[in-house]
């Protein structure tokens, strides 16, 4: 019996837990949830919970629905358009084509996000993280490289000793920290960014600044450019 979801869930939600099997979630024009593979399906309130084990799972869901997926070593692929999406793997790769918001976490697996229209929260210890376009971004890795493209909200990146590349699409605040890794921030042409070092504490933002770019690296190089 799957554990009860907390009462904080108030929208239709599909929850999937697997171990080593690959999970493919396909969001499409339909109203029901279709599960292919060896799995236990339980429904409680607004939540449908699918618990698999080692085999491959293919789950078809209505487009736009919220999903929560966890796999140990299996790869997770989400195709189509989903709502709020949370995915966790230990070593499996995570790929999400298009979502409203994303929370994706992996230990060793690479994380690739196509388009996320709102908040994008990504965590990886050793896997690289790449986002093609997103609203706001909050990304942290230990050694995995961070690459954020076309960011349209605030961006926050924390990497212990990997490289951080951020390309901003709009004039929004950026905060990027590494211990040893290099940081590169690209702002749109004409944007006046006020640049500060996070280690110096708060600094007063000048009236003519469009945004604040706060960075800090203990030993790594920091480049902030207008393209």
């Amino acid at each position: 019996m799957a554990s009860l979801p907390p009462p904080t869930i108030d929208r239709p939600l599909v929850r999937i837990a697997s171990t080593s099997g690959r999970v493919e979630l396909i969001a499409e024009d339909r109203t029901d949830v279709d599960v292919r593979g060896d799995a236990e399906v339980t429904r409680f309130g607004a939540a449908t919970t699918i618990t698999g084990d080692h085999g491959r799972l293919i789950v078809r869901v209505p487009a736009g629905i919220d999903v929560v997926i966890g796999a140990t070593s299996g790869r997770v692929d989400v195709t189509g358009t989903v709502g709020a999406t949370a995915v966790t793997t230990d070593s499996g790769r995570i790929g999400i084509e298009r979502a409203t918001s994303v929370d994706a976490r992996s230990n060793d697996g690479r994380i690739e996000i196509g388009h996320c229209s709102a908040d994008c929260c990504l965590r990886s210890e050793h896997g690289a993280v790449a986002v093609a376009s997103c609203g706001s971004a909050d990304v942290a890795t230990a050694t995995g490289r961070i690459s954020l493209g076309d960011v349209r909200g605030a961006a926050r990146a924390h990497c212990t000793n990997g490289r951080v590349d951020i390309t901003m699409a709009t004039a929004n605040d950026v905060s990027a920290e590494t211990v040893t890794g290099r940081i590169s921030v690209s702002m749109p042409r004409g944007v006046r960014a006020f640049c500060t070092d996070l280690a110096d504490g708060p600094a007063e933002r000048p009236d003519d600044a469009d945004c604040v770019v706060s960075t800090h690296s203990v030993t790594g190089r920091v480049d902030i450019v207008n393209r």
């Binding site: 554990s3 907390p6 904080t8 929850r15 929560v68 709020a84 929370d103 230990n107 504490g201």
Partner: protein, 176 residues
């Protein structure tokens, strides 16, 4: 089942971890690194102040393990500690981010230590948290008093599997 010298208990475990501490230590040297550890322990002691049946169980390298009689107390202390660390970071008074995880369940005392699957799961939950994040298991959230839980902002995070535990552990990212 208990063994002589151990006692069954129910409560919540909180694990903390300083993100990038090893690399920070390499970069700045032992003296500054130890100062950071001392500061974390001090802030944790402040967060425990006034919480019933709460204690620092042990220090684990750059992290801490704390035990609480209730899930409410664990989450409250975690959010208090998070606020203290983030506030100090904004002032430039604390160089590293903290991450934390809370789980709730039965465990066994072993001297001053607390052991068992609940503890192992709590450690795994904290491993999954990012800098400045508190992750809480659904089990712990469901063990909280409704009025305390309702004031929290919760966002689903994918579940984790823990070796030796059959059921997946479902998680939420929690803030106030």
């Amino acid at each position: 089942m208990t063994t002589p010298g151990s006692e069954a208990c129910t409560g919540s475990v909180l694990f903390t971890d300083l993100v990038g501490f090893t690399e920070f230590n390499d970069a700045v040297g032992d003296a500054q690194a130890v100062e950071v550890l001392d500061r974390q322990t001090l802030l944790a002691a402040e967060a425990l102040n006034g919480q019933d049946d709460a204690r620092l169980v042990k220090e684990l390298g750059d992290g801490l393990m704390l035990w609480f009689g209730t899930a409410n107390a664990a989450v409250d202390a975690a959010l208090h500690l998070m606020g203290s660390v983030e506030s100090a970071r904004q002032r430039g008074a604390f160089p590293l981010a903290i991450r934390m995880g809370v789980h709730h369940g039965e465990a066994l005392t072993r001297g001053d230590d607390v052991v068992g699957a609940t503890i192992n799961i709590g450690a795994r939950v904290a491993d999954l948290a990012g800098p400045g994040e508190l992750l809480v298991s659904d089990v712990a959230l469901n063990a909280m008093e409704t009025e305390d839980r309702d004031v929290l902002h919760c966002a689903s995070v994918g579940p984790v599997r823990v070796k030796g535990v059959r059921e997946p552990v479902w998680l939420q990212r929690v803030s106030r």
